[in-house]
Symmetry: C2
Subunit: 291 residues, 2 copies
């Protein structure tokens, strides 16, 4: 059926100066009185995309209006082309794949995984891995700085992975969902305060639940001392709060600064959150242990 798929039965009406002035369907044309002019039967509430617009904006219009085709006009409102919705599906897929790539800290590429050479796949991955490896050194530096705390209670060591992971996961949840919300138009940068408030409330409740479960587990199953259980559980509350705030706010701030919010999510947030988690951990430990 190759002839069918691209046939659009919508007529776009232009003025004598090629300006886009109206639209009507073939059905309306056929059912109009014989003596009517096009001007009389056409609709003038027009939706179009401009040649200068980003393809992502065009995709947003398709989603909003549920059209099958949209006329394209130049800066002087002259009709210069048409976009159909099947082209837009490809645009949406591509933009989404780009978001996934950014979130996974991979250089963006339109090559398919199966077609790309091993060299170009390495090239897209190694940059971020190097940057993140070097920045994780700071996290290690925090452990180095608090070496004396770890030496006084070696058991504190065992909870480092759990605290880092939980912080990373909590931050990742927020950053991914906020980034996705910004991409689908569900969340706007103007919602900053509302998102801040929601994120803050969620983080307090989630932090307290995790903290209580952890405290019970530490006292009953792992049977660590009361002081260690207190340090770990208190750290959990503050870590989850910090992680959810960092994860929720950075994508919105990125969007406000006209950067792609997806760059802010995933690995970058994990690195920031990891360092802050350990800092919170050792600060609480030092305070409670009086070091």
């Amino acid at each position: 059926m190759p002839c069918i798929k691209k046939t659009i039965y919508t007529l776009y009406v232009t003025s004598t100066h090629e300006k886009f002035v109206g639209v009507l369907s073939l059905r309306e044309l056929f059912s109009a009185p014989e003596e009517a002019t096009i001007e009389e039967v056409m609709h003038t509430d027009l939706v179009s995309v401009n040649v200068q617009e980003d393809q992502e904006q065009a995709a947003q219009k398709f989603k909003k209006y549920d059209f099958i085709a949209l006329p394209v006009v130049d800066t002087k409102d002259r009709l210069v082309g048409i976009i159909t919705v099947d082209d837009i599906i490809d645009v949406i897929e591509l933009e989404t794949t780009e978001d996934f790539q950014r979130m996974a800290a991979v250089g963006s590429s339109e090559e398919s995984y199966m077609d790309a050479s091993i060299f170009s796949l390495v090239k897209n991955r190694i940059g971020w891995l190097l940057i993140l490896m070097v920045s994780a050194t700071f996290t290690g530096g925090i452990i180095g700085r608090f070496e004396h705390t770890l030496q006084s209670i070696a058991a504190l060591n065992m909870f480092i992975p759990m605290l880092m992971d939980t912080g990373g996961n909590a931050g990742n949840q927020s950053s991914t969902l906020i980034t996705r919300g910004l991409a689908t138009g569900d969340i706007h940068t103007g919602d900053f305060l509302k998102v801040l408030f929601k994120g803050f409330s969620i983080s307090i409740i989630a932090g307290i639940i995790l903290s209580i479960v952890s405290f019970i587990k530490l006292m009953t199953i792992e049977k660590v001392g009361f002081m260690i259980a207190m340090i770990v559980s208190l750290t959990l509350i503050f870590t989850v709060m910090m992680a959810k705030l960092v994860g929720g706010m950075l994508p919105i701030i990125a969007q406000k600064m006209k950067m792609d919010p997806a760059v802010m999510s995933g690995p970058l947030i994990t690195t920031v959150v990891d360092a802050l988690s350990l800092f919170i951990y050792f600060t609480i430990a030092n305070a409670l242990l009086g070091l």
Copy 2:
């Protein structure tokens, strides 16, 4: 233009038993000879979706054929409806959001972030956070098991966050891209061996590069001993190899087992990779230090 958007100018032809037998466009109908029957002018190479099919499969057909509408048939090939491409855009968006949610280890929800109550947002997040928190305890257990190694060289402690993060990032890159490839149809489960080979090659090259950079950095900037630099750099190669294999394979295995590959990516892989990274680290340390 509300009347235009949903008007499809494709005629679906049915037999006397309501069986879907042909298709033709309004344009073809008008340009056909007057005495021709519908049977003579219609096309019979048909594409349709079955009522039983998953909406994701319908979306795949739209992407493949670039159609604006597809007829829906029941199990007896009777024409029962029509899907238009603008409905499919919503399906694609929803499925993608679901993938993002799974990757972020958030319970899936069709509620928008802005509309959802704080209680339901906490509910969608807390389950995975608890599961992952408890499983990260195993990672901590590995540190506990190798306490004697850490006590003989306390400096090893400082590289734990960097190794865990780099492993997690490398695994995350692979799992996210493979999961996305499976979702867009770029990668199929039948490509298992090819993906395994590619992943393996990428991981060796990336591992060696990271390892060399890390070794130079450790010897020149951080000025640690040769032995520690060796332990950390060797661990990096094996960690990146392991992470990329785990990250690349688990989503494909999930898909083969008819599970959603997105569940396998992100936090779950990070947890597995973290534990394995530390195990590799301490095993290499013990071997090189002769402990």
